[in-house]
Each structure stands twice: as C-alpha cells, then as structure tokens.
Symmetry: none
Subunit: 204 residues, 4 copies
Amino acid sequence: MNGKSKILFAAKKVISEHGTNRATVRAIAEEAGMSTGAIYHYYKNKEEIFYDLLDESLSDSIRIAKGIKNHVENKEKIKRDVIQKTKERFYKDAENRLQHHFAHEILSGNMDLKQKLKEKYKQWNLGIEEILVNLYGLEDTPLNKALSSWLLGAVDGVILQYLLEVNDNKVEDMMKIFELLIDKGLPEFIQLINAMENKKSQGT
Amino acid sequence: MNGKSKILFAAKKVISEHGTNRATVRAIAEEAGMSTGAIYHYYKNKEEIFYDLLDESLSDSIRIAKGIKNHVENKEKIKRDVIQKTKERFYKDAENRLQHHFAHEILSGNMDLKQKLKEKYKQWNLGIEEILVNLYGLEDTPLNKALSSWLLGAVDGVILQYLLEVNDNKVEDMMKIFELLIDKGLPEFIQLINAMENKKSQGT
Amino acid sequence: MNGKSKILFAAKKVISEHGTNRATVRAIAEEAGMSTGAIYHYYKNKEEIFYDLLDESLSDSIRIAKGIKNHVENKEKIKRDVIQKTKERFYKDAENRLQHHFAHEILSGNMDLKQKLKEKYKQWNLGIEEILVNLYGLEDTPLNKALSSWLLGAVDGVILQYLLEVNDNKVEDMMKIFELLIDKGLPEFIQLINAMENKKSQGT
Amino acid sequence: MNGKSKILFAAKKVISEHGTNRATVRAIAEEAGMSTGAIYHYYKNKEEIFYDLLDESLSDSIRIAKGIKNHVENKEKIKRDVIQKTKERFYKDAENRLQHHFAHEILSGNMDLKQKLKEKYKQWNLGIEEILVNLYGLEDTPLNKALSSWLLGAVDGVILQYLLEVNDNKVEDMMKIFELLIDKGLPEFIQLINAMENKKSQGT
DNA sequence: CATGAATGAGGATTCATTCAT
DNA sequence: CATGAATGAATCCTCATTCAT
C-alpha cells in the first residue's frame, strides 16, 4: 500500500471512529504510522485529504449510478442493485460523516468547496434520474425531477439520523420500506404524478 | 430581555450566520453586547448555551407537531396543516442552518447535546407517528415506525439540499410531490405495508 | 505600561538583539512577560506588531520632517536638526532592522505591504524635499527630486552597511562627512545643478 | 553544466524571483531538475549554496571594480567607466534582488555569510577608494574612507528604492545627478574635506 | 551518483476558560 | 454583576536534513 492510500485509509478510520473534528493531522498520521510531516509529502492540505476521500466516495456513487443504468435489459437486476447499494451506504460510516463534514464546511462559507460539490452532486442527481427513467419510464418533467430529489434527500436524511443516533429503527426495517417503495410504491406513485400532469395539461 | 435570553438570541444569530465553528464565545458576547466574562455569569459552559438553544429550537418544532396533532376530528384539516407546516420549514433558513449546525456539533462529539437531541427527536417522531395514526389508521409496528422515520428524514434531507444550494427544483414542485404523497401516495403505500405485514404473519 | 506598549517594547528589543527572523511570537511574548496567547489579545497578527512598529518609526520620521520644516525662520537650526535626527537613526537598531524586514517582505511579493509602505515613503520623501526647499531654496524640478532621493538613499544605504557590519568607519566620521555635506557641500552642488539646468534651457 | 553550477544557477533564479524565504531546498532542486537528495551530494548545507552564490556574486562586483581601476593613466576614461558601471547596476534587477536577499540572510543571523560578505566588502570598498585616490588624489584618512562608504551606500540605497518601487524618478535623472557628482561635485567636496582636515590638524 | 519518502522540531494562530479588579 | 486581560493547550503547516533503496 503506497503513501496516499495509507493516508486515505487511516483518515477514513479516524473519521469513522472519532468524527471529522477530531480527525486531526496528527491523529491521521499516527493511525497511518507516519509523522505529521510525512502527510504533507503527499497532501498539500488536510482538506485535500478529505476532498480526495469525498471524491473517491462520490465517484463511487456516480460510477455505481452509471453502472446500474447500463444494464437496461434487466429491470429486476437494476432494482436489486439500487437496493443493495443503498443498503451499503448505511454502513459507510466514514463516508457519511465526511459528507456531513463537507456540508458543514459549505454552510460555513467555503465557496470553493460549494462549487466543487455542486458539480459532483449534479452528476449524481442525473445518475439517479436516469435510473428512474430506465426503471419506470419517467419523463423529464419538473415534477419527476422533484421526485428524484426527494428520493436522494430521503436517503441522505435517514443516513443523518443514523449518524446522529436518533433513529432507533433497525436498518433492515428501514430497508424493507425502501424495497417496497422501489418495487411497488414508486410505480404507483409515478402513475399518480402522471395522472396529475395530464389533468393539468387537459385543464389548460 | 434578560441576560440568558440576550445570549441565546445572539448565539442563534451568530450560529445561523457563520456556523458553529465561528460561533466563539467572544463572537457571541460581542453580538450580545457584553463581555466574554459576562457570558460565564449566565452559563457555566459554551456547551450549555448550545444545549439551551437546541432545547428552545426543538421545543418549537415539537410545539408545531403538537399543534398539528390536536384537532384529531378533521383529517382533511390535519393534512392541510402538515403540508402548510412543511412548506414553511423550507423558508426558515436561519432555523434550518441552526439545526444543521447542531447536527455538526453532535457529530463532533458533544454527548450532552446528543442526548438532548435524542430525547426530543423521540418526542418529535412520536408526534409524527401519531399524525400518521390519525390520518391513515397506522398500527404501531416496526415497519410503520420506519416509515415515519423515512418521512422525517426526507424532509430534513431535502432541506439540506436547499441549504447547500444543490437542489434546483422550485419549492412549489417539491411541495406538489409532497402533497400528492400525503393525499394519495401514503394511503396506498400504507396498504402495501399492511399487506406485507399480513402476508408475513400468515406465513409464520 | 499597557499591553500594546509592552508588546511593542519587547518586540523592539527582541528584533534589535536577534533580528526580525528570530523575533518569533513566543520570543516576543516571553520578553514581554506574557503568554503567546496574550499577544493575540492585542494584535491580530505578528505582522501587525511589526507594522505598528514601522508606523511608529515612520510617523516619527515624518513628524520630524514636518517639525523641522516649520521653523522656516532659522536655517541654522534646521540644519542642526537634520544632522541630529540623522545621527539618531544610526542608533535605532530595531527600527532599522524592521525597515529592512519590510523591504524584504515587499521584495518577497507582499503586495499589500508594498502599497502601504509606498504611501508612507512618499510622505517621507516629500518631507525631505520640503526641507531642502527651505534650506537651499530648491525648485521643484526633476533633478532636484532626484537629488533628494539620492540623499534619502544614501542614509538608508549607509545604515544597511552598519546593520550588516560591513562599515568599519566610526559613526562620528560618517557624520562629519554628512555635516560638511549639509553645511557646505549641498549649497555648492545645488548651484552646479542649477547651472546645468540653466545651460540646458538656454541651449534649447 | 555540472552539478554545482546547475544548483547555483537554479538557486540564483529562485532567490531573485521569489526571495530567500521561498528559496527552499526543494524549490532549488526542482528548478535545477534534480531531487532534494541530490543537492546534498554537492552541498553539505543549504548555507553553503548561499555562501558559494554570494562569493560568485561579489566576485563579479569586485572584478568590475578592478576592471575600472586598471587604466590609471586616463582619468576621464575612469570617470566614464564608473558612471557606465553604476548605470548598468540599475538595470541588473536579478542581481540586485539577489544582493538584497543576501543582506536579509545575514541579518537573519547567518554568521558565515556575514564573514564572507565582510571580507568581500572590504576588498570592494578598497577598490572604490583606490578609484577615488586615482581620480581625486584622495589621501588615506578616516574621513576619506567615510566618504567612499557614503558613495557606496548611496548607490545601494537608491537601488533598493527602485527595487521597492518607491523611487519614481527616471534613472536618467538619477544618473545626471551622479555624473555631476563625479565630474564636479566630488572634486569640490573633497577640497572641503581636506580643508577641514588641515584646519583640524593646524588647530591641534 | 540519484531518488524521494520520512522525520521532527519549530512557527503562527485560535479559543474556551479563569480571575483580579 | 461586569470587565477584559491572560492562560495554555491544541491545531495546521513548513522545511532542512537524513537515509534506505
């Protein structure tokens, strides 16, 4: 394992064990078994480590979204994939904490980061939308875009509940609801949306 | 306005404007128009300020939840209330930021705050559950609890998207989806849940 | 003696004893008999301490220049003053080192500082020019401006020699030359300049 | 170009462009196209690089001084040479910066460098004195030594003004004054000095 | 000869908290 | 009650130098 990987691995561990705030350079260096100075041989900034980590994580997500999208032939497989990847997110503690950390940085006024994250987020959102298109034949309407934002938001919101330890439900129970939503809830709900859109356009 | 209120008010302003990180005791004292030393006459700790602030903020939320819950007699009115209150949350920027920063504080290892949030969150969650019970005749099963967590999480998640400015949808579009969910989507989805629960218990 | 003065005094001492580079915040704090943190109660930056010091020193110079200029009636007194103040500069080790430090900062690319210093320097230069006007009836020509820059530069250059300890002459000998220059050398030299200017304009 | 030359060349470039502070071993190595470790094959110390560099730079200056001194026979030619070489110095930005940064290094406590500068400066000063002797028949008195220090200092001081961009005069105007000084001002001034010396010795 | 990873001491800065007045 | 000066530990970061490969 080379320097950068060692650092990233250590950072991930420290973050998931003690949170972003206590993930000091010294702590990461110690965990990685090197000196603080060595860290700066590989990374210019502490934030760059974090950013690399987030990038890795978001790139994964985007890659997954794109990967899922590709086997159009088999809807059932896509659904299983979506469910599986969502479930995995619940257990990626370091990544989830990191995502929160960046949100916090942005809300604290870090404009550069905001721009970076925005781009990544948009790609991600598009990935999800495409999945919905493939799965449910969704059209590219404002309401459908809103729906995919709700879905993304729901997952993020629930993950935050788990991070904060205010959600006492078993992950399995949460996932059962999610599965039911993907399998049956969404198809029906999308019909409702389409019905509404049609009514609206007829009325106009 | 007495000392504590002045401090809480100042803290709320500082945090929602500049985040928890920059909400130093000095900054709060300055905003409150007093000296740093004076703060410690009213509060033993910086943490206690945050504690009180979270208390206040959550109590507000719970009051709203309870406010909704009270008129059990009229389901349609409850629905309108839920939708109205949800919509209002989207525009309460300062409160939303505050809540995010508390989340950050908790994720940074502030255990007292976590405990407080946990208690309050439980009450809040219960409030939402009761609303669901009243609206849709929900039973007190693990899956139904999970559902209400998803609902809460979704709203929080979407609000975070707006805070981060990564959600380009109009609030109206987001709310249309939410309305449709409350009015038609959830009743149908809850039937699906119940069907699944029954199937499972029959199978056992 | 209040906080700022204590710090400025300590900084001056440390700088003249060990140079700007070794004038660390810790060293200054120690010399001032306070903790490093205390320094930041009075100054936002280490550089601000230095800047205050330079400001003090330049303001002195400017005030002196203006002060000298004012008693127009007595040329002999002005000369004695100029000589006296120049001599004093040779012994202001801390200020001289500081001036070099800022020059160095500017040459290292600190553009903000450059602007600040430029203004101060211009004021100072003007002060000197006015003295020359009063003493020798100098006219406001490019050549006369050049002359005053040479005078300023000469003093700065010689002071640097002393700082670097490459000038083995006694200060008294250096000052004798300076006195002779002020008393007799400059009047004659200025006549030469004027003669040249006139020849030039006649030739045109 | 061999190793040492490559390093010296790179160091000269880095220092004159970014100053001594940013002339880290890494930066020099990068500029020289080698690794940091390689530097230490040629030089034991970072200081030794600076030492060599100063040596080279001062040797250049001394060579110039000696070059001027050699044709004793023709005073007019010497004057033109002095003026020409002085003028050239104004345009040697990189060398001037380099020299300033060495001054800074010395003021930062680099004692070896100080010693080197002292020796070289003495030689240099002697060169100037000899020129004055040749040109104006100067005697080897303390006051005449002081005069030559003032001349050297003046040029250095004015060059620093140009480096700092606080001197708005045209170089031509500055040089006109210098020429006038060399041609007419100094002969007269030296007479004044001699007169004073004689008066003093008569008085004793 | 060359590489570049690693060290570790040292620097500036921040901030919750205390305490004499 | 109030002030604000002072503390000191913790944080990020830099860089000359060493050394295994």
